[in-house]
Symmetry: C2
Subunit: 203 residues, 2 copies
Amino acid sequence: MRSPQSLRNGVGGETPTPSRSPRPTIPSPHDIRFQSTLSVHKLRRFNSLVLLFRVATFVFSLSSFVFMLTNSRSQPRWFDFDASRFVLAANGIVAVYSLVEMVASVWEITTGATLFPEVYQVWFDFGHDQVFAYLLLSADSAGSTLLKTLRDSDTCSNTSAFCVQSDISIALGFAGFLFLSLASLMSGFRVACFLIKGSRFHL
Amino acid sequence: MRSPQSLRNGVGGETPTPSRSPRPTIPSPHDIRFQSTLSVHKLRRFNSLVLLFRVATFVFSLSSFVFMLTNSRSQPRWFDFDASRFVLAANGIVAVYSLVEMVASVWEITTGATLFPEVYQVWFDFGHDQVFAYLLLSADSAGSTLLKTLRDSDTCSNTSAFCVQSDISIALGFAGFLFLSLASLMSGFRVACFLIKGSRFHL
C-alpha cells in the first residue's frame, strides 16, 4: 500500500492539485488550468455536502440532548434509568463532536487546507465518525427498548409526559445518527483516497 | 468521478492488472511479471483476511442464534419479549448472509474473479455489511437493555437460566458485530477503489 507524503498540508494554504500519475508526462498549461478549475469545483461540492451533514447531525443531536435533559418535571426523570442517561450522554458527545467538525469543515472550505496535518485529519474524522455513529445507534436502540418496556408496565399511562418527551428525544437521536452515518461514508471515502493516492482528493 | 468499466469481471478468470496511468507508458515484460506477482500476493492476503472476518462473523452469529433459540425451557421464553425476538432475527439474518459471503469469498480466492459482475459485487458487499452491522448492533443493544430491566425487576432472580443464556447470546452477538464491522471496513475500501480506479484492486 503506497503512502507518499508529498501532498500533505495542514498549515499552508496550497490549492488542491489534480491526480498524479506514476510517471509524469508534461501537459500544456491550458490543460492544467482546466483540470484545476474542474477539480476545485468538484471538491467544493464534496466539502459542502460534508458540511451539510455535519450541520444536520449537530442540530438533531443537540435537540435530542435538550429534549432529554428537560425531561425531569414528572416523577420518573431521565436520570432514573440507565438507558435514558445513555441517550443523553451519547447525544451530548455527538453534538460537541459535530460542532468541532463543523469548524474544521468551514476552515477547509475557506482556506483549502485541513485544520490538522492531512494524515491526522482524515483518520481522526473517519475513526470518530464510525465510533460515534455506532455509539448513537446503540444509545437510541437502548432508549427505545426501555420505553417499550415502560409502556408494557403502567409507568407510561400514569405520567405520560415522560414517555412522550423521551420518544421525541430518541426519534431526533435516530435522525442525527442517519446524518452522522452519511458523513461517515464521506470521510471513509477520503481515507481510502488518502491510502490509494496519498492525498484526500479523488480527482 | 471516473468509472471506466474496463476491468470488470464476473465470469471470466482474468488475472489482476497493476494500476494504470492515464497515458500508458510501455514497461518491460520483466516489470510486468514482477508487478503482477507482487499484486497477486497482496490481493490474496487481503481476500484471506476478508474470509477470516466472514468465518468469525458466521460462527459468532450462528452461536448467538442457537443460544437464543434454545432459551425456552424456563418460564419467560425468548418469544415473550420483542427485544429477544429482535436478537434472534438479527443474528439469524447475519448468519445466513455471512454464509453467502463466505462462498463468494472462497470463489474469489480460488478463481480470481468475483461471483457476480464486479460493480454489483462490491456494492452488494458494502451495502449489506453496513446495514447488517447496524442491525446487529441495534438488536444487541436492545437485548442488553431488556436484560437490565428484567434484572431490576425480580424476573431474573426467580428463573435465572433465561437471563444467563440471554447474556451469553447477546455477548456472542456483539462479537459477531465486531467482525462484521471489520469486514465492512474492508468492503468499503474495495468500493472506494472501484470508484477511484475503476477496479476493486488497490494495487
